[in-house]
Symmetry: C2
């Protein structure tokens, strides 16, 4: 139940149309709460009919016509309420870790390439975050809002740093394994599931 609040936040930062929101989700907000344009349009409709946002009155709002929204007081209040409320963390889901665990049972064949690809992706993301930090948070700018936003960015940077390190380590480990066993570790499951 966070998408509407992600949208409210984005709209408070700057009133936007559906597509503008989509683009901003692809850049900044989407780094920790991604959404497709479909979700966004649907949610905008819902938020409007709930009276939390409204379409800025401009040109006639026809199909294929840009339509910008702004947050109403009720929307700001709802966002404040949600921000203050406690929430339990969502259960984790990480397919890569799961695959590593599966590899312990069925063998590591084919894993290396994908680990490398992930490493590359995380390196890129890290570089992007660092670029943003350089651009948006030069030493000096540190009003309350900046400090909070910087904190969030730091989480992103540190997370990507963690993943690049871990993936590099994992890659070395997996490479070591396939070297020893000649391509696949325990691909017959011996040692874990004894043949019956």
């Amino acid at each position: 139940m966070s998408l509407p609040h992600a949208i409210l936040t984005a709209l408070l930062e700057k009133p936007s149309s559906g597509l503008e929101l989509t683009r901003r989700f692809d850049r900044s907000i989407g780094y920790f709460w991604s959404a497709t344009h479909q979700q966004i349009y649907r949610e905008l409709g819902k938020l409007e009919s709930d009276g939390l946002i409204r379409a800025l009155p401009s040109e006639q709002p026809a199909r294929g016509q840009k339509k910008a929204y702004e947050v109403l007081p009720a929307g700001r209040a709802e966002l404040a309420r949600w921000t203050a409320a406690g929430q339990d963390p969502k259960p984790q889901r990480d397919a890569l870790l799961l695959r590593l665990r599966a590899a312990a049972v069925v063998g590591t064949a084919g894993l290396e390439a994908d680990l490398g690809r992930h490493l590359d992706l995380h390196r890129r993301q890290l570089a992007e975050y660092e670029e943003i930090e350089r651009r948006d948070f030069p030493p000096g700018r540190d009003g309350p809002e900046d400090r909070l936003r910087h904190l969030v960015l730091r989480a992103g940077i540190d997370l990507e740093t963690f993943w690049t390190r871990w993936l590099a380590h994992a890659l070395a480990e997996v490479a070591g394994l396939s070297e020893v066993t000649g391509g696949t570790a325990s691909s017959d499951g011996a040692g874990t599931t004894p043949p019956r």
Copy 2:
């Protein structure tokens, strides 16, 4: 599309009934791929009708009666296929970071308590992981399967370490902010959304 593979992995490690699987998901597998008993029962049915697993023939399988499953060769093959195949990482979703960003706009009121609660949860999880490491990976045990499983556990430990550190830092930062502004930073949105 990872749940069936999580189940196959778990069943290869040890044939189990639905409830046993559920419990094991709550402990080890669920740390990086959680699932409710509902998902598991449904998926077991699907996997069985697809011929990837089968019910161990034992007592008559009536309702309210334990029914254990084991993986068939086709299931092992499917798991190996999936493990080897490359997959794009799922888009990130982190409600806490989102809330911090919202707080930059609507104020930090009420955040501190919840940050503290999250810190506590992550500390507990970290302690649990470290306990598992002590118990299951004493120095010496390092066959191929152990190395891979240990690698996964290390990811968990390092992630939780990261979060506890970051949360402690965030908590200090937020406390500093509310001290300066008297409880809420920029709760009227000034500075970000100039009043029109």
